[in-house]
């Protein structure tokens, strides 16, 4: 089969690799019909996530048709059309039973590596680093999916792939980011740093949850334009964001701040240099600004991905203002059914963020474009049949 393979910093290749096979009794094999490039794939592409290896197949946003099931699979059947959430969960450990799915204890075979860095290991992830399990990803024609009865959600209707594909990650991720803001309907003002795909879904989800106002911050005009289409007020990023936010909120500041940027924020030469010299792992420019700008007793919600150690974080402001921080990989299985229902009820059309549709064979060019944010690129969907 064809698969998009990471071959080093800023180097992707489409290779012919062996088809996946059932390795564990609860596995299934999915023939991928649509897959996408995620913002966190860009962190991997740029070599910023430790323990990725040359030859790893990327991709954690994918859907398709079940073509084979392991002997212990009960619910999922061959022929099912499914969207697969990017976090792999066993459904049986104490975290899973509390719906803390992305903290599953039993799906990372390399948990001891993650624990060396973080103390404890979260769930295994598709197409991520070996520290996160090293599972082959879904930017491929076929993919092995462990715990077939726990992750994949069956799509019963004939709704097009593009409208449900983002249930695999960014829609639930944006939704959980908004849910984490403790929005009081009709009153809360939410500021969202980053109008990439997760930011776009966070903005739309904040409105679905009743936010009175959403202010979107991004340096790229077309991303701001897409945010405004959803009803947000968009402002350019920069050093004057604090004053602008105060001016727009009667001096109160936003009740909640969402950092949908993560570790590769632009705007700080200090961080560019330190990250290049490996003196810090992440460039937390957006996070710092969100910490400073959020209202007293407000909430900081961080769906943006961070990998390690952050520099010059104004934690004093967080403490003194009594800010609540909510973060984490998305507890995907909580959101699959409710959000599918929203899509089927036409409350939201997730395909609105797609700007590029390209064959899987052109994945290397698509990565380069998405990374550089050229050609108005916001979201790339790959067609594995081509």
């Amino acid at each position: 089969m064809k698969a998009a393979v990471w071959m080093g910093k800023k180097k992707m290749e489409v290779q012919e690799v062996a088809d996946p096979r059932i390795l564990n009794p609860r596995d299934c094999i999915v023939k991928v019909t649509a897959t996408a490039i995620c913002g966190s794939d860009v962190h991997l592409y740029n070599g910023l996530i430790p323990t990725l290896e040359k030859g790893d197949i990327l991709g954690h946003e994918f859907m398709g048709e079940v073509v084979e099931v392991g002997p212990a699979v009960r619910k999922t059947k061959v022929g099912d059309r499914v969207v697969v959430p990017f976090t792999i969960a066993c459904g049986a450990c104490s975290h899973c039973t509390r719906t803390e799915w992305s903290c599953c204890d039993n799906t990372n075979p390399n948990a001891h590596i993650a624990e060396a860095l973080m103390g404890y290991s979260p769930a295994g992830l598709f197409g991520f680093s070996h520290m996160s399990g090293g599972y082959a990803g879904g930017q491929a024609q076929y993919v092995r999916v462990p715990f077939a009865d726990v992750g994949p959600i069956k799509i019963e209707s004939d709704i097009p792939d593009e409208k449900v594909l983002f249930l695999s990650d960014i829609f639930p991720t944006g939704y959980m980011a908004a849910e984490n803001c403790n929005i009081v309907p009709g009153r809360s003002v939410v500021a969202v740093w980053g109008c990439g795909p997760v930011g776009q879904f966070a903005i739309r989800s904040a409105f679905l949850l009743g936010a009175a106002k959403v202010i979107a911050i991004d340096s790229i005009p077309e991303r701001r334009a897409l945010a405004e289409k959803a009803g947000a007020t968009a402002i350019p990023s920069g050093d004057d964001v604090m004053e602008t936010l105060k001016a727009m909120t009667g001096g109160r500041g936003p009740d909640a701040a969402i950092d949908a940027v993560g570790m590769e924020a632009h705007g700080s030469t200090y961080d560019d240099v330190k990250q290049t010299l490996k003196m810090e792992t992440d460039r937390p420019f957006a996070l710092r600004q969100a910490m400073s700008c959020v209202r007293k007793a407000g909430t900081l919600s961080v769906p943006g991905v961070y990998a390690g150690f952050l520099d010059k974080v104004p934690f004093g402001a967080v403490m003194a203002k009594g800010v609540t921080i909510k973060t984490g990989q998305t507890h995907m299985q909580r959101y699959l059914h409710p959000l599918l229902a929203l899509v089927e009820a036409k409350k939201i059309d997730p395909s609105c963020i797609i700007t590029h549709r390209v064959p899987l064979s052109e994945a290397p060019e698509a990565y380069a474009m998405f990374n550089a944010k050229t050609d108005g690129c916001i979201k790339v969907v790959l067609d594995p049949s081509r």
Binding site: V5, W6, V17, L23, N24, C90, C93, N106
Partner: protein
Amino acid sequence: MASSTPRQAPRRESSLTPAKKKASAGISVPGNQGPRIVRAVTIRKPASELYAFWRKVENLQLVIKEPVSITATSEEESHWVVTAPTGTVEWDSLIINDEPGVLIAWRSREGADVRNAGSVRFAAAPGDEGTEVTVALEYDPPGGKLGVFVAKLAGEDAGTQVYITLKRLKALMEAGEIPTTEGQSVGEPQASAKGKK
């Protein structure tokens, strides 16, 4: 631990004192000279079930990641063959303490390639968390202290091995299978590198 020598005893005194030597004559790792490892996991299964799995020592072949062959030779005894970084090592293991649902303790018999003594305890965790499974292990590493150092560099230190074993036990008991990526699809250069192994 299996050793009757207090762990806090200064090593020099205990190993030089004849009385102490006698006290530890039947003990696998005399004078507590080997490294000591304690690792724990919490498993959402009753202690009785986990104890029963462990007590049938051949079951441990399912959860120990390194190539291992365990043959029960009697109710209390088993023969172990492990492929270690330094080659194959063998020993006979004897269960010296057995409290159903609570504790199993063992030590190696005389003549072991790697003398070892250890225990596993099963204790109820708070609320509905399940059972805390705690392993303590003491051993004389092949190659002595240098062997431990080299093994650590190679990422194969015994503490990690014990921990990986416990994590695999937890996954098998809770999820019914042990997570793996061995044999999955992979691109070059890894595919060729794996083929050569």
